[in-house]
């Protein structure tokens, strides 16, 4: 189940999959959101209007796809976050697994 190979391809893949609802969240993703005081609206905003994207392996690719970190701002436009995702192909459909969310304000 291969995934996208370039940042341009990955961003298109991730945005289209999330927009169409062809995504799933990892177990405990909701807990990471609560811990870092984000919600799904912030995740959707960051993915729809990203400020950057970079490859992100770190063992998140359980479905043979490729891992990416999508950077963006929350809905309030005040806090920077990154969403760690795996983009992969399943039964000829492009899908995304949202693995984690990172609070870049705290990380920096």
């Amino acid at each position: 189940m291969p995934g996208p190979g370039t940042t341009e391809e990955a961003l298109k893949w991730i945005q289209e999959s999330v927009e169409a609802g062809r995504f799933r969240t990892a177990i405990h993703f909701d807990q990471r959101l609560q811990e870092r005081k984000f919600d799904m609206f912030d995740v959707f905003k960051a993915i729809a209007s990203p400020t950057g994207i970079e490859p992100y392996a770190k063992g998140i690719c359980a479905h043979g796809g490729t891992g990416w970190r999508v950077f963006g701002l929350d809905v309030d436009g005040e806090r920077r976050l990154a969403v760690g995702v795996e983009a992969f192909l399943d039964k000829h459909k492009r899908r995304v697994l949202c693995c984690t969310v990172i609070d870049l304000e705290k990380e920096s």
Partner: protein
């Protein structure tokens, strides 16, 4: 329904389809919400649970719809939820409503929202949800829901906001019943 999926948990276990009872949706919504009974996934190895992305989008919209329908005036967290659902910053919402940003900040930090602003914010959200749900559900069902939702908007709310944050599961239940009907459970991942 097929029991197993192609998907794996971070722990390495396989995910299976499951009906999740009292699934805590609060982390996704940023507001306290419990789903009484929803289709989802459970890891065979660690027992962790999650739900499909399409359902997450649907429930986020339904929570907004439920907030619009509730009779009491919006409290801080519900006003914030509707603004975030609209995808607007406090400044953008203030500009749309023709008010100062400080006013929006005040609602979201506990100051009582005026009946007029309560009405306008609900109307914005209702209009937005109308389009959002049409993309997810069948038009006939959405039309029926929106009629009820619009009816709820016809009066200015005089009751003060309450601290109640538990959302009524009736709307969620009615949608799940639709999804459980034969031939309509197309939301699986």
């Amino acid at each position: 329904m097929k029991d197993t999926t192609n998907f794996r948990c971070q722990c390495g276990g396989a995910l299976r389809h499951a009906h999740l009872v009292n699934f805590d949706f609060s982390g996704f919504a940023g507001i306290q919400v419990t789903l009484a009974d929803t289709p989802g996934f459970e890891c065979r190895k660690c027992g962790g649970k999650t739900i499909d992305g399409g359902l997450i989008k649907l429930f986020l919209a339904l929570v907004g719809l439920e907030i619009v329908r509730q009779p009491e005036r919006l409290n801080a967290e519900k006003a914030r939820y509707l603004r975030k659902q609209l995808g607007l910053t406090q400044q953008q919402l203030a500009d749309r409503m023709g008010i100062d940003r400080v006013t929006v900040t005040n609602w979201e930090t506990g100051k009582e929202i005026s009946p007029q602003h309560d009405f306008i914010l609900r109307a914005f959200a209702d209009n937005d949800l109308n389009g959002g749900l049409r993309r997810i559900l069948k038009p006939a069902w959405v039309a029926k829901s929106m009629t009820t939702s619009s009816a709820a908007l016809t009066s200015v709310r005089k009751e003060p906001p309450t601290s109640r944050s538990e959302l009524h599961p009736l709307v969620v239940e009615s949608v799940l019943n639709k999804l459980r009907s034969p031939g309509k459970s197309r939301v699986g991942f």
